[in-house]
């Protein structure tokens, strides 16, 4: 099994606060890898360092065998990463279609392919009939879906989703898990998720962060039975 992305000793210190400490993480190509942990565990900081939004204090990031630790964010995206924001960050003043088209055009595809990628991405999240609407007028849940559609339109090799199901209805969550199932095998997914039902349903591997450190890693079953994780995060029940 090939490793698509790995981090070694990845550390981020904000002044006195150690947000992420010495994290070694390996993502196997084609897997859905969930990253869980209590609020403030350092999940968003960790993926921020992976995709280049935050410069690490120490450690390295390797993507597809290449050290990308010092590469700026837009070049990492060019290598085939996509990142969807935890705080909905769509272009509120532009149409839904234009939002997704911007995502698609960021890749080296042009012309008809852009249109096709836009339609396919909107179709997958179920927003096709709202393509002409101004993104800012969508409901919160639909803006979350648009965010995911933008990630899909980038046709990434590694899709990083930061709490994608936050604020989605049950029906939308079901649609989302089906969508992730559809990506399995050809797109590697790194999923930060609070909804444990989603994690157990879609994840191949789970990494648990606590106070910036890796507390445990394994299959969902391993994690489910891990006492340290239960104590730290899931409660004792």
């Amino acid at each position: 099994m090939t490793v698509l992305l790995s981090t070694r000793g990845l550390t981020k210190r904000f002044d006195g606060l150690l947000a992420v400490s010495d994290v070694d993480l390996d993502l196997t190509a084609g897997d859905v890898h969930a990253l869980i942990g209590p609020n403030g565990a350092g999940k968003t900081t960790l993926v921020g360092m992976i995709c280049g939004r935050i410069a690490p204090t120490a450690g390295s990031v390797t993507f597809d065998g290449r050290d990308i630790t010092t590469l700026p964010a837009h070049k990492r995206i060019g290598l085939g990463m996509a990142y969807t924001f935890q705080i909905t960050s769509v272009f509120a003043g532009l149409s839904v279609r234009e939002n997704v088209a911007l995502a698609a055009r960021g890749q080296p595809v042009q012309g008809d392919q852009v249109d096709r990628a836009v339609c396919a991405a909107l179709d997958k999240v179920g927003l096709s009939d709202r393509a002409q609407e101004v993104a800012g007028n969508l409901s919160y849940g639909h803006q979350r879906l648009l965010e995911i559609a933008m990630g899909l339109a980038q046709a990434p090799r590694l899709l990083i989703l930061d709490e994608p199901t936050q604020g989605l209805s049950d029906g939308e969550i079901a649609r989302f898990t089906a969508l992730i199932e559809g990506l399995r095998g050809h797109t590697t997914v790194l999923l930060i998720e609070h909804n444990m039902r989603v994690v157990w349903e879609v994840a191949d591997r789970v990494t648990v962060l606590n106070f910036g450190e890796v507390l445990a890693e394994g299959t969902p079953e391993d994690i489910h039975e891990n006492r340290a994780v239960q104590a730290a995060y899931l409660g004792t029940g």
Binding site: G78, F85, G93, L94, L102, R105, G106
Partner: protein, 315 residues
């Protein structure tokens, strides 16, 4: 061609046709005014690319306007150039100056960007005064009729001047319309809305802002060079802070981030001052009140308001 594209072309093309026809029917006074407004509107179009579409508020565009004007003027006065290469020299000067300033100023954002551009423009203004032996400082210098013959066309003649101003304006308008509808322009708008997000879509936002500033500065310089050549005067006042504020006002009044806004804003402001100064010596008071009222009731500018109410897809 989609229906929307057809309507957009009809509107912008319609304005150009109107301006073309206007010169045959307008009385001499307004004819002259309109020529001046078209050149100033071209300057505002340049400003709008950076401010209206990319969301970068520069307070130093007079530097680019003056770079074009002096690149052209000094080329004629001291370099012995004829108008065509002199115009080119002005445009190149603007491109070089805006590129250099962009490299420095784009290291900052927000208020710091405004201050850095303002300071460099002031430095440029003082440089013009400092080299008074060549630039004649505040007094400036006049370009003689003989120095203003472009390919045998006398640019001091009102009709020729109108045509030249119209040509410049039409070029700038079409360029701006094309640019903001092209993928490059869409990215600029996205940068204005949320730069962080654009970067995470794989775009080099710094390179895009750099290009936007050079395009903006170059168009402004072209307007500055044309202004000097068409009206026969090159002076330091065009490099003063007032000429950095004016395009901001025109664009805000007309509608930032609209293709027609710069022209409407420049036209409106020109005639507002022209008409109110005919009524009273305190014309700035009238102009000021009108501007305040407009800002209150049409905060997105005249064309911006039109877009908000009637035509969402207006570029």
């Amino acid at each position: 061609m989609s229906r929307d594209t057809a309507r957009i072309l009809a509107l912008h093309g319609g304005l150009l046709v109107l301006l073309f026809v206007a010169q045959f029917v307008l009385p001499a006074y307004h004819h002259g005014n309109l020529a001046r407004i078209m050149v100033l509107a071209s300057y505002a179009i340049g400003y709008n690319i950076l401010f209206g579409y990319t969301g970068l508020l520069s307070l130093g565009h007079a530097l680019f306007f003056a770079a074009g004007m002096y690149g052209m003027g000094l080329g004629i006065q001291h370099g012995g150039l004829s108008p065509a290469p002199a115009l080119l020299a002005g445009v190149v000067a603007g491109a070089v100056v805006s590129g250099a300033l962009a490299l420095l100023a784009l290291r900052t954002t927000g208020v710091a960007f405004m201050i850095v551009t303002l300071m460099f423009a002031q430095a440029g203004y003082l440089t013009i005064l400092y080299f008074g032996d060549y630039t004649r400082g505040d007094e400036g210098f006049v370009l003689q009729t003989a120095q203003r013959m472009l390919w045998g066309i006398d640019l001091s003649d009102p009709t020729n001047r109108y045509f030249a101003a119209f040509t410049l304006f039409a070029l700038c308008l079409c360029l701006s319309l094309w640019l903001v509808r092209a993928p490059f322009g869409r990215v600029l708008v996205a940068i204005r809305e949320n730069e962080d997000r654009v970067q995470m879509l794989g775009y080099d936002t710094h390179a895009h802002k750099l290009a936007a500033m050079v395009i903006s500065g170059t168009i402004s310089a072209a307007a500055g060079a044309a202004y000097g050549l068409l009206f026969g005067y090159v002076g330091a006042s065009f490099g003063s802070v007032q000429y950095s504020i004016l395009p901001l006002l025109w664009v805000l009044l007309g509608g930032a981030g609209t293709v027609l806004g710069p022209f409407i804003g420049a036209l409106f402001m020109f005639y507002l001052i022209d008409l109110s100064s005919g009524l009273t010596a305190a014309y700035m008071l009238i102009a000021g009140v009108v501007l305040v009222v407009l800002t209150l009731f049409a905060p997105q500018g005249l064309v911006g308001e039109l877009r908000r109410r009637f035509w969402k897809g207006l570029p």
